[in-house]
């Protein structure tokens, strides 16, 4: 299901920071937490497409730089009461190298699917 791509070393990403991996399906944000876990999400906030890689990492969460939605790094789910989800990708750390798994079956749309936005109550 996944194609695995070597993307660099753990130390290429600052703790509590993130870097972008450019893929044919769009940018993927790779995050490193304080406890050195690494997570990857599509670099588009489910709210209005903000670049999640530019946000603030805290615990296992990321705060979007545009309007402060908070998402779980592990699942991409927005923290309640916001509703939405950013696609997440598996990351493996092997011998100090990071590997990113990209789905090779379904190709990703290049813009946020409209229905995601519609699914949220406008307040």
């Amino acid at each position: 299901m996944y194609d695995w791509h070597e993307i660099g070393a753990l130390d290429d990403i600052p703790r509590l920071g993130s870097r972008v991996v450019q893929t044919p399906h769009g940018d993927v944000a790779v995050f490193r937490t304080a406890d050195d876990q690494v997570f990857a999400l599509r670099d588009r906030c489910p709210h209005k497409g903000g670049p999640l890689s530019q946000g603030i990492v805290h615990g296992h969460r990321i705060t979007c730089p545009l309007h402060n939605w908070v998402l779980e790094l592990e699942s991409g789910q927005a923290v309640a009461p916001d509703v939405g989800c950013a696609t997440h990708y598996p990351v493996r750390l092997e011998n100090g190298r990071l590997w990113l798994g990209l789905n090779n079956v379904v190709s990703l749309p290049t813009t946020a699917p409209r229905n995601r936005l519609k699914g949220r109550v406008r307040r």
Binding site: H5, E6, I7, G8, D12, I13, P14, R15, L16, G17, R19, V20, V21, Q22, T23, P24, H25, D27, V30, A34, K48, G49, G50, P51, Q54, G55, I56, V57, H58, G59, T63, P65, L66, H67, N68, V70, A80, P81, L100, L102, R122, R123
Partner: protein, 810 residues
């Protein structure tokens, strides 16, 4: 094994502490509760409506017996504790039940004071404290006709009103000539008495009770002057005494109550106490609001979070007699240096009085119209300087013009009126969410509705809605925790950073027991600012705790590109700079070039990876970062001044450039803007800036605390100065005072409204030594701040990872 907590006193304060504890550390303790009353925990305040027949006992239960069972709490209801063995850590009840503890919480409340007169122990003579007393009163009302209430205070009047509602003929006896002397001034007291007399209460004022007469049961009251009146019931409501017999008996230090420290701990470190039985900083309380605060702090320490201090409370009162509106708070009788602002409208039956000292509210008495009670109480607790709206303050909050920071009364707005402009949330949506989802705090409202979650300018309105919808018991904002990661307020954290010499985030998290190991997006940027402004030479600026704009020194745009605003000192530029800007725009295909509201040029739509190259080119033409992205010095706007203008009185352009060169690069709690106008025509709009200079023939007027933006606020005049050198010194001192004492994301306008102009004057204008010291600290910190962040990054030396993708795949 779990630790054991025993609570003595199943009342309001003790059980609130238990509930707070369950909320933050549900599994920490095995809990046992002893209460002398044979009920669950009920809302004692509501006994008055029960007596008046407006509520039933069931309706005032907070936690019934099944709740205790559900939570696994052992409740011994109807069992008074008679002894405690502190060495063995054992509690013993009257019926012999024994329970051991690791931590003990005393919350024994208080007892009604019973006058030491003959006959005070006759049946039919009671206090007004618990369900039993109310039952006795209701029984008396069914059989008897007359009642006497001794004591014309809050409790006495509520008792009298209730008995009257139950059909009794009630006489209120009071030793003084005015009612409720601890809450009301004579004018309001007389209005109240007239109103109650109209309703059918009788009063005997200035009357001293000598004895209660009767054989099997009380039948009359005799006064010093010989007068006797017949009665079937006597309610003593002459005051309460903290109930600390038990504590005293077991050797815990007591004075007028059980003495506790700021963590609610008694002299025995295993024993805590809360509620009316305690004495804190010499003060005993008889109202619930302070007890809620005590409970919160106590629960925190029981849970070993070890944070939060109780620092005493200011209280306010309302009389719970339906149809009578009465509010009182603070010291309302004045004193040396106090003035009274009074509004009397006999036709409407309205009386309002504010006691004010140096333009700060000290006390308030409201009769007939109490809608603004909570507003005055807020002004009182926050020590707000009311100078600006003193003339209209008594007309109430609704009267304030809506452009001002204080807004209008939100309750008068329609349901579909928009409250939060950023997120399009209307009033109805907010009140509905508060009611349906049982929201209690601002954070919860933000989370559920998004109102006030963005720019925050509607926070005041949302808070008013919350207060009006859920009730008004709240903490002073000054004590609000910074965020969900801590119980500490901004001011407390800052004090800790200074006093404990904390120089890194890790140290703060450790020393102050942060709940989340690396904080959140709300506290980290604030803490980072507090660190670098307190310890400029020691603390390391933590890039991961900065918002993206400050991390990459450009403004993120909605499509993820960035904008770049180079500094133009005092708004001056020249052909060489303009050429460089034009070249950069061409070379990197920057879609928009715009003149900003801050007298500079903005390049919008720059791709992130191009930023270092754009900066390199701008640097080469002599331009540095304009900090258009930062909580920092922004622009110094100027007008043309004496160089060209026929009205110019001083060199406003030159002074503006000097101020900007001196202050650029400095980080501030929120953004900081300046302007220098060459004459009072004020073309540079200096009177809506954080620090504005208006040049006049004889020198320079210094204006501070202005704000354009969301809520416009004109500046206050700080002082007048004669020379440029002085202006520079005052500028540094003002900025430094704000840097040291402003809360993160609080601009100078709300800051000055909070601390008051006279405070700022006292620190800067009237205290030369302090001004010079502030100025020196500012200049010292500038040594570390005035490094062009663009130059550092243009060369790729700093934070290169920010601007390059990690990898390209596929």
């Amino acid at each position: 094994m779990k630790e054991r907590l025993v609570l003595v006193g199943n009342g309001m304060a003790g059980m609130r502490t238990v509930e707070e504890l369950l909320a933050i550390a549900p599994d920490k303790f095995d809990i046992t509760v002893f209460g002398s009353e044979p009920h669950g925990n009920y809302n004692r305040i509501m006994l008055s409506p029960v007596l008046a027949g407006e509520k039933t006992v069931d309706q005032i239960m907070i936690n019934d017996l099944s709740w205790y069972a559900e939570k696994g709490i052992r409740l011994h209801a109807g069992h008074a504790v008679v002894d405690i063995h502190r060495a063995r850590r054992e509690v013993r009840a009257a019926d012999g039940t024994v329970a051991s503890y690791d931590r003990l919480l005393l919350a024994t409340g208080s007892n009604p004071f019973i006058l030491p007169i003959p006959g005070n122990d006759l049946p039919g003579v009671i206090g007004f404290r618990d369900i039993k007393d109310v039952e006795t009163m209701l029984a008396a009302a069914r059989t008897g006709k007359n009642a006497v209430v001794i004591g014309g205070g809050l409790l006495g009047l509520e008792a009298a009103n209730g008995l009257m509602k139950q059909g009794m003929q009630v006489t209120v006896v009071h030793v003084l000539d005015t009612l409720m002397e601890r809450q009301l001034d004579p004018v309001a007291a007389d209005m109240l008495r007239a109103n109650l007399e109209e309703r059918g209460l009788r009063f005997l004022m200035g009357a001293q009770t000598a004895a209660l007469l009767g054989e099997e049961r009380v039948r009359a009251v005799r006064f010093k002057d010989g007068l006797e009146i017949p009665t079937d019931l006597v309610v003593m409501a002459v005051g309460i005494r903290p109930n600390f017999e038990l504590a005293k008996q077991i050797g815990i230090y007591c004075e007028r109550g059980i003495v506790v420290n700021d963590t609610m701990q008694t002299y025995d470190p295993r024993v805590y106490a809360v509620g009316e039985c305690v004495q804190h900083r010499g003060q005993c309380y008889g109202l619930v609001a302070p007890l809620w605060e005590q409970a919160k702090v106590c629960a925190n320490h029981l849970a070993r979070y070890g944070i939060g201090r109780y620092q005493g409370s200011v209280t306010s009162t309302k009389l719970k007699v339906t149809g009578i509106d009465l509010f009182s708070a603070g010291s309302f009788n004045g004193g040396p240096g106090c003035e009274e602002i009074v509004l009397r409208d006999p036709a409407r039956g309205v009386y309002k009085k504010l006691v004010v000292k140096e333009n700060r509210v000290q006390g308030a008495v409201l009769y007939g119209d109490t809608v603004d009670g909570s507003w005055y109480f807020q002004l009182l607790r926050e020590g707000t300087d009311i100078g600006a709206f003193r003339e209209t303050v008594l007309f109430g909050h609704a009267h304030m013009a809506d452009s001002g920071r204080d807004g209008f009364s939100v309750m008068t707005m329609a349901d579909d009126a928009e409250i939060c402009g950023c997120n399009g949330v209307c009033k109805g949506a907010i009140t509905k969410a508060i009611a349906e989802k049982k929201l209690f705090t601002l954070d919860e409202v933000r989370a559920h509705t998004k109102a006030s979650a963005s720019c925050g300018s509607c926070t005041g309105l949302v808070e008013q809605l919350l207060a009006a919808t859920v009730g008004t018991i709240g903490k002073t904002p000054a004590e609000k925790p910074m965020c969900k990661c801590t119980e500490h307020s901004h001011d407390m954290v800052r004090a800790a950073i200074r006093e404990q010499h904390l120089t890194s985030l890790a140290q703060i998290f450790e020393a102050l027991n942060w709940k989340n190991p690396d904080g959140c997006h709300s506290c980290r940027p604030a803490l980072n600012f507090y660190l670098i402004s307190t310890w400029p030479s020691e603390a390391k600026d933590d890039q991961q705790s900065r918002f993206i704009n400050e991390r990459v020194h450009a403004n993120i745009q909605k499509d993820g590109t960035y904008s770049v605003v180079p500094r133009m000192w005092g708004g001056l530029t020249n052909p060489q700079e303009l050429r460089a800007i034009a070249d950069v725009a061409d070379k990197f295909q920057i879609p928009t070039v715009k003149v900003t509201g801050g007298q500079r040029i903005d390049l919008l739509g720059v791709k992130k990876e191009d930023l270092p190259k754009v900066w390199a080119d701008l640097n080469a033409a002599g331009m540095v970062s304009g900090h258009a992205y930062g909580k920092s010095l922004r622009t110094v706007k100027t007008c043309v001044g004496t160089d060209w203008c026929r009205f110019g009185t001083q060199d406003s352009t030159g002074l503006g450039v000097k101020l900007e060169k001196m202050t650029w690069g400095s980080w501030t709690p929120h953004k900081f803007k300046m302007a220098v106008s060459g004459c009072p025509r004020n073309c540079a709009e200096a009177t809506i800036k954080d620090f504005g200079v208006v040049c006049v023939d004889s020198g320079y007027e210094i204006h501070v605390g202005g704000n354009g933006g969301i809520k416009i606020r004109g500046t206050d005049l700080l002082c007048k100065l004669a020379t440029e050198a002085e202006v520079k010194e005052y500028c540094c001192a003002f900025m430094q005072l704000y840097r040291e004492e402003g809360r993160y994301l609080e601009r100078t306008a709300p800051w000055i409204e909070r601390v008051g102009l006279s405070y700022v004057k006292s620190r800067i204008v009237e205290d030369e030594e302090n001004r010079k010291a502030l100025c020196a600290r500012f200049l010292e910190s500038q040594q570390y701040a005035q490094i062009d962040p663009w130059a550092e990054r243009a060369g790729g030396r700093v934070d290169a990872h920010e601007f390059q993708p990690l990898q390209r795949v596929g």
